[in-house]
């Protein structure tokens, strides 16, 4: 394993905040925007995501 990967792995192992997800939720989600703003993607960009999601 490469050293940087090892370092990342050991960082994860020693993680103190096991409830990191809830901590993230308790923060402000400061980048959140109204849903309508997210939906204005161009057709070609939508196609990229549609390809990722449709099975």
């Amino acid at each position: 394993m490469r050293e940087d990967k090892l370092a990342r792995h050991s960082k994860a192992e020693n993680r103190e905040r096991l409830d990191a997800f809830n901590v993230k939720l308790s923060e402000n989600c400061s980048n959140a925007v109204p849903h309508d703003k997210l939906r204005h993607l161009s057709e070609d960009k939508k196609k990229i995501i549609e390809k990722l999601t449709e099975k």
């Binding site: 993230k24 989600c29 980048n31 999601t53 449709e54």
Partner: protein, 282 residues
């Protein structure tokens, strides 16, 4: 007060709430308009949704800034309980009783489909992708939810394999890709009354001047509170007010009502009547 109804969504269906695709109308209805739907995702699928946003960014569908906006908006929806995360680890792995329940689940009786290949002049068995871990967990949770809620819960997925397994297990599952509002179960519908599918002639007229016709069309379904019709020749828009004259099969006018357009999907228009009809009229 109508009882909340759990709706378990897979990751690909959740994405349709944030990006407009085929099927997004149904997903948006569940999130924003259904008076009863409570949106659930499994904790595994939270990671799956976030991963789709990361992958989309890597493939150039949006910038780093936009990726942060998508992820934070999704997390904010979880924080505000618009999406409830079903914690698989806490609810299942730590509860050993669940394993006993799972052993009662019969394996689905799925047979590979036979496909004719003209080049070989014969049939082969179509290979199916096996459901991934996230899908399996979702189906297990859904199976339990069905037992707990006496089948008053729904699964939404556009994954053909998941839908086939769900069907074989007797779970109530829907594919948002191929459905319309009229296919939604009655208990998720904001219309309170039971709809009757019927094709009656409707004449649409201007709400302020009855002599101005907006065209003749047909009903798709009708209930005491409103009607769903095909778009008339003069297209109706959201919130338009319309005078409706509905005829019976003998071509006699049986309903004259003022209605407001509440929904439009493809060529279908839903209108809410100003006053309730008598239930025996249609």
């Amino acid at each position: 007060m109508r009882e909340p109804i759990p709706c378990l969504l897979d990751a690909d269906t959740v994405i349709k709430y944030y990006i407009d695709f085929r099927g997004s109308e149904i997903v948006k209805y569940l999130f924003d308009e259904s008076p009863t739907a409570r949106i659930y995702v499994t904790s595994v699928q939270v990671a799956e949704v976030i991963s789709i946003f990361y992958k989309s960014c890597r493939l150039g569908a949006f910038s780093e800034t936009e990726r942060k906006e998508y992820i934070d908006t999704f997390l904010k929806d979880i924080k505000e309980n618009k999406i409830i995360v079903y914690d698989y680890v806490r609810e299942h792995l730590l509860d050993f009783k669940v394993y006993e329940t799972i052993t009662h689940i019969r394996p689905p009786n799925l047979k590979p489909e036979r496909v004719y290949i003209p080049e070989f002049g014969g049939y082969v068995s179509e290979l199916k992708d096996i459901a991934d871990t996230g899908d399996t967990i979702m189906l297990m949770i859904m199976r339990e939810a069905h037992l707990i809620t006496d089948k008053k819960c729904y699964l939404f997925s556009s994954d053909g394999h998941v839908l086939r397994v769900a069907d074989a297990l007797g779970l109530k599952a829907f594919n948002p890709l191929g459905m319309t509002f009229n296919d939604l179960p009655q208990d998720l519908d904001k219309r309170l009354h039971k709809r009757k599918k019927t094709s009656l002639q409707v004449i649409c007229k201007d709400c302020n001047n009855e002599s101005v016709s907006l065209g003749s069309t047909r009903t798709i379904d009708i209930c005491e509170g409103g009607v769903c019709i095909k778009q008339p020749s003069t297209p109706l828009a959201h919130t338009n007010r319309v005078n409706l004259v509905i005829h019976n099969f003998a071509n006699e006018p049986i309903i004259k009502q003022l209605g407001t357009v509440t929904h439009i999907q493809d060529d279908k228009v839903s209108l809410k009547f100003d006053t309730l009809l008598a239930s025996n009229i249609f």
